[in-house]
């Protein structure tokens, strides 16, 4: 039982990191109709920015704030400078995905060129361990879970109750009609990328915290989890991403306790392929006729 509880704990942390990341990723798709495969690369770049700040002697939590801002700015530039011009030209979804792969190489290996190939870690304490009933988590892990809950609640409030959130949903549902309502969709899209970019930066830092040590290629595998969570819930569905993150995060870590840990990604992989083959619109999405 202890193994199960311990893996449950890991699962919650993974699910938390994944939830922050997947919500950002799926909203980007919802509003722009682009699978931004460079998302993982932006995450790790943000993680490194936090590292640089951390190395300068500043607390990692300050680094986190800087990384969040960098993620927001970088993502806005990525969309405005790369994706939007291609879309304006009428590029097909395949072309867009190849472009996003190209951007992944540029950002990921650009980070590697600057930061070097060796693994690094943040200088931070894990804080006292908290245990309840055999479930043991460090303070930092609890903070990560807490951040994730805040993000999910905030996303819920944003989408359901704020003017911007509703404009985001309208733009994702029917961009032309949104414009006919007077919504400045270009501005909404920019703000969406800023917010999801911030989530991306945040996800990168907490990912690095959870992983302990990381290098520029660490998010390659994590992108699979993000894709699995997104497609499980349905691309473009924020609540679906949260659900998918919980399922994938828990399933991955709990299965790791019982089969060799190196294969824990297999579950995500199978889930993703199953969804693509059976129900690409996801569990919460509209079934395509």
């Amino acid at each position: 039982m202890t193994i199960f509880l311990a893996s449950l704990g890991f699962g919650l942390v993974t699910a938390s990191v994944l939830a922050i990341a997947a919500v950002g990723f799926t909203l980007q798709f919802g509003v722009t109709d682009v699978l931004n495969l460079a998302y993982g690369a932006v995450m790790i770049a943000a993680a490194f920015i936090a590292y640089v700040v951390n190395q300068a002697g500043v607390s990692i939590w300050v680094g986190l704030v800087v990384a969040v801002a960098a993620g927001a700015l970088g993502s806005v530039l990525l969309n405005a400078g790369v994706y939007t011009p291609f879309q304006r030209r009428g590029a097909s979804p395949i072309t867009m995905v190849i472009v996003s792969l190209g951007m992944t190489l540029i950002i990921e290996f650009g980070t590697q060129a600057i930061a070097g190939g060796t693994s690094v870690s943040y200088s931070m304490g894990q804080g006292p361990a908290v245990s309840a009933d055999g479930l043991v988590l460090s303070t930092v892990q609890l903070v990560v879970i807490g951040l994730s809950v805040v993000v999910m609640a905030g996303t819920h409030v944003l989408l359901r109750y704020t003017r911007l959130g509703k404009a985001m949903r309208a733009t994702a549902a029917n961009k032309n009609l949104a414009r006919n309502c007077g919504i400045r969709t270009a501005r909404v899209i920019t703000l969406t990328w800023a917010i999801t970019g911030a989530l991306c930066g945040l996800a990168g830092v907490v990912f690095a915290m959870d992983a302990g040590s990381f290098d520029a290629t660490s998010t390659d595998l994590f992108l699979i989890l993000i894709l699995a969570a997104t497609f499980l819930g349905g691309p473009g569905q924020a609540y679906g991403a949260m659900l998918g993150a919980l399922v994938i995060g828990l399933a991955t870590e709990i299965s790791a306790a019982y089969i060799t840990p190196s294969y824990k990604y297999v579950i995500a992989f199978v889930a993703l392929l199953a969804m693509l083959g059976i129900r690409p619109s996801g569990l919460l999405g509209e079934r395509a006729g």
């Binding site: 404009a167 009609l177 414009r179």
Partner: protein
């Protein structure tokens, strides 16, 4: 708020040859003006160029004394023009209430609730289904929601693209005679595109007949319904010239 809609010399298309050429019309406040013609005559394209969805290659669009030619749809909407497109006319994944809230996006939050209540008074059916997802509505209910969405802002000018398509004749008649007519009597300028010429003629102050991308004739319902040329140009289309 009231304003006159005036279009002069509009030429527009979708890249390639223009679909409509040199079209001029005007709609005064309190008037219902209809646009009829066979399919492919350019009615929808004209409406889209007035709503900012399509940019005209020539001509001007004036609402009151504001020049809205070639402006983006969101700016046209902010200038007091309410456009109901023919298809994709509601936000499918959003609820009825949220659709109306989107319609009232430009309003102050305190005004939104009052306007929703006002719209529900016009369309009581909508009031019974505020929490239903728009994608689950029937054809007629959807059209009502589309109109209701536009009503939220009480625009000075209405552009309606075939609002009765898909509706049973009785429902269509009600929509036209009660609701569309009332928009005008409340002071707005209403430009309505329809295929059901006779039904819309009954509520129009003036009608333009489009064929082959140009205005073939125009007149009051009384003048047109006794004109043999009217029936012919509407039915014959471009082939039997």
């Amino acid at each position: 708020m009231s304003a006159e809609l005036r279009a002069s010399g509009i030429t527009a298309g979708y890249g390639g040859d223009p679909v409509i050429r040199d079209i001029s019309l005007h709609v005064a406040p309190g008037q219902v003006v209809s646009l009829v013609g066979a399919n492919g005559s350019g009615k929808s394209t004209l409406l889209k160029s007035l709503a900012g969805v399509v940019r005209p290659s020539a001509g001007t669009v004036m609402v009151g004394d504001r020049d809205l030619t070639g402006r983006a749809p969101e700016d046209v909407a902010r200038a007091g023009v309410g456009y109901v497109p023919q298809v994709d006319d509601v936000f499918v994944p959003l609820t009825v209430r949220e659709n109306l809230e989107m319609g009232g996006y430009l309003l102050r939050p305190s005004q939104v609730r009052a306007r929703i209540e006002a719209v529900v008074m016009v369309f009581p059916r909508l009031g019974t289904m505020l929490t239903r997802q728009a994608g689950k509505l029937s054809g007629g209910e959807r059209k009502m929601l589309a109109m209701g969405r536009v009503l939220m802002l009480e625009p000075a000018v209405f552009l309606l693209d075939e609002p009765t398509a898909n509706l049973a004749p009785a429902v269509a008649r009600t929509l036209l005679e009660e609701h569309v007519r009332r928009l005008a009597s409340d002071g707005a300028a209403v430009l309505i595109v329809e295929q059901r010429a006779r039904a819309v003629l009954a509520i129009s102050d003036r009608t333009y007949v489009l064929a082959g991308g140009e205005v073939r004739m125009t007149g009051t319902p009384a003048e047109l319904s006794v004109s043999p040329a009217f029936v012919e140009s509407f039915l014959g289309g471009t082939v039997a010239r």
